[in-house]
Symmetry: C2
Subunit: 433 residues, 2 copies
């Protein structure tokens, strides 16, 4: 499609006021009581309109860590701890993955994210071009990291060529797709490969996305092997930077937190996956927040969560923090909401989007990425909005989802819903799941 | 309405098979591939039919502990610990409650429960006749416990007369409403009043519903005052019986668990409220299950949760157990599902229903209480059903809710929805919330 895309949203509420919103080519051009009345289409533009039905305009959620295609593995090996789950349930099936498996698994993930108000995600998974194609077709945004492992069946150079080929492929997608260098973890990637990843990220100006300190065993092994804890080890390799995100960060001690804050790296907490895999700890949010660590929230893959409803996980995140600290004031609700919407990490919230004038969500000049909450949701009827979003609502409170100025869900209807369920079920059956 | 009520459900799925279901006067009369084809109405019967649209027939959820009308207080004092939340946020507002406040707060709670697949609940709240009226109008079931406190402004006899008056009122409602004797907690009710409660429950053949061991401070105070831990103290008063349910049970030690198991009392866990109020502990489910303690699940009041979506809380329950035990096998998913559906406590699952032939849910002779899951829910598309219900789905997966042979929600539409939102908001405003 050539020409410009205009969007006009009417009949919405923002801060208790009736407003309209207009956008042009994915950027908000006006928002307010008189914003949308007369938006003439021009010869070279197509117009999309959305009647918000009195629903509440709201910043969207950003999923800071997932493996989208793992929707296919939902419920597989449910009651196993992390290492047995990976080795016995997941890795054997992953060895059989074909591109169409990843495509339809990711489409299912995107459907679930659209339905629960998530407009972009940080992914790490095999067949990254299939992921990118699924995200592009779904209309979402993603920062996609092809995983870097130490592979016994390939030379260092072969493995690196494969990875660089994937990154080249990802560069060929549109503006909604960005790439990351994604060394899997310090227990699966050796020092030489981590150093290579640091160089590759610098050469290509890409962010780094790695799992860190998910289990206590990982920390102990790191101390034994390298004489330092995981964050210090990454820092010794130059990997702790403002464009690095560390998924999990469950077992960080105070010195590591200070170090991460000093380097400006992000920690993305995945509380549901951590509790489900019974790692036994909780990311120390209060200490990280005090130190100034940028923080984001992720679901992790649906295989170990098992849902991608970040609004539901936001509640668990806040509950886990209050529980772990035995302190009802451990995480103010506005902060929790900021974490889930990518507003407390410029890296995660940025989603590799082309530079736009820095602006808050839902202001002129910001990307036209937002959700509309259903005003008939009983859980939103009383109390204040931040509290309702953190503690009462699940993703089903989202009525409409808009990304890059396009309406991806309208009154809870998403294009392709039935086909996605059918095709993803076929692919799961093919994998014997 | 006189005469008989017939129900015919067609186009449903059960265990992978297409089935129909019929019920007469709230009891299932047939279920299977050929059950519903020809159900002639008779002169004295009305016929209700439900096309399940290919949805999955499923046992309903039972909320073992809540204070339904507290939906009015949602988001009020969110970031306070238990005692300050009660003393500073809740009790001052409760002092102003009128019957219509409780009625509309409870209607809102019922709306949310119907929408999330809960068909009955154990309540403890003021103005119990207003709660009963709301439950009756909503079509749900409830066991309602008017709270027993030591009241400084009333004599022992005055307070008891008031309570007995409430119990008399509750006895005047229909079969879906039952009553309980509900001493609030050992830290608000003295020994004499607890002994009175035991006698009253025995005299009237009513269950007992009490908060127990919610905070560690409660345990320490009990040991100091009575020389024994809370469960032993209740047992010394004769309160631990198969018709007693103990809400919370966070700080039970092994001896207390053995004692509760021996006496056959139920523990109703409220993991979300416990984590939100930051009590610091988790009900020791694995030990309780091993000892044979009947276990149920509750949301607690929406004021301290802040939702009533028991399907969402079921996930948190399982996650909290896996986390607390640092063991991914801490709670098998089928057990977790049994806990949330009242199948692991005859007391809670019984809901004070008039004796029916003992039977599993969704069998001939069982109450016509069930839910239909939406087959288009992406979270139910892959994996096995028990896993999806525990770990993937939230209440929005429920398409239809049937109680006592009546369809309370049909394709997610509940009668009176708009009026309930309007009226409950009016009542909250009146209370200054």
């Amino acid at each position: 499609m050539s020409g410009h895309l205009r969007l006009v949203v009417t009949n919405a509420m923002l801060d208790g006021e009736a407003v309209s919103l207009t956008a042009l080519d994915g950027v908000i051009t006006a928002i307010g009581p008189d914003a949308g009345g007369n938006s003439p289409a021009t010869a070279d533009s197509s117009l999309e309109s959305l009647d918000a039905g009195g629903g509440i305009l709201c910043p969207p959620l950003i999923n800071g860590h997932t493996h989208a295609a793992m929707t296919l593995f939902r419920g597989h090996g449910d009651d196993l701890p992390l290492m047995r789950w990976l080795q016995e349930a997941i890795w054997p099936v992953e060895a059989k993955l074909e591109p169409e498996d990843v495509y339809w698994g990711t489409r299912l993930a995107c459907l679930e994210m659209i339905r629960s108000g998530t407009i972009g995600f940080w992914d790490m998974y095999w067949q990254p071009a299939s992921t990118a194609r699924a995200v592009e077709d779904a209309g979402l945004r993603a920062v996609i990291g092809p995983p870097l492992f130490d592979a016994p069946d390939k030379t260092f150079e072969e493995r690196n060529r494969e990875l660089e080929g994937w990154l080249d492929e990802l560069a060929g997608f549109g503006d909604r797709i960005a790439a990351a260098v994604a060394p899997h973890a310090i227990y699966t990637v050796g020092t030489a490969s981590l150093e290579y990843a640091v160089g590759l990220a610098a050469d290509r100006d890409l962010p780094v996305h790695i799992h860190l300190s998910e289990t206590e065993g990982e920390v102990n092994d790191c101390v034994e092997a390298h004489g330092m804890r995981p964050a210090a080890y990454l820092d010794s390799l130059g990997m702790l930077t403002p464009t690095t995100t560390l998924a999990h960060g469950v077992w960080l001690d105070r010195e590591e937190i200070e170090l991460i804050a000093d380097r400006g790296a992000t920690v993305t907490s995945n509380p549901v996956a951590n509790m489900k895999l019974a790692v036994g700890g909780v990311f120390p949010y209060p200490e990280a927040a005090r130190a100034g660590v940028p923080v984001a929230l992720g679901t992790d893959g649906a295989g170990s969560n098992n849902s991608l409803d970040l609004l539901a996980d936001l509640k668990v995140f806040a509950l886990a923090q209050r529980h772990a600290a035995a302190d009802a004031e451990a995480i103010p609700k506005d902060e929790a909401w900021g974490v889930a919407t990518g507003q407390r990490s410029a890296l995660i919230g940025g989603l590799g989007r082309p530079a736009l004038p820095a602006s808050d969500p839902l202001t002129v000049g910001a990307p036209a990425d937002f959700i509309v909450l259903d005003p008939a949701t009983p859980e939103l009827a009383l109390g204040n909005l931040a509290s309702s979003l953190v503690y009462s609502a699940t993703g089903s409170a989202v009525k409409d989802t808009v990304v890059d100025g396009k309406v991806l869900m309208r009154d809870r209807q998403v294009d392709g819903h039935e086909e996605i369920l059918t095709k993803s079920a076929e692919r799961a059956r093919r994998l014997g799941l």
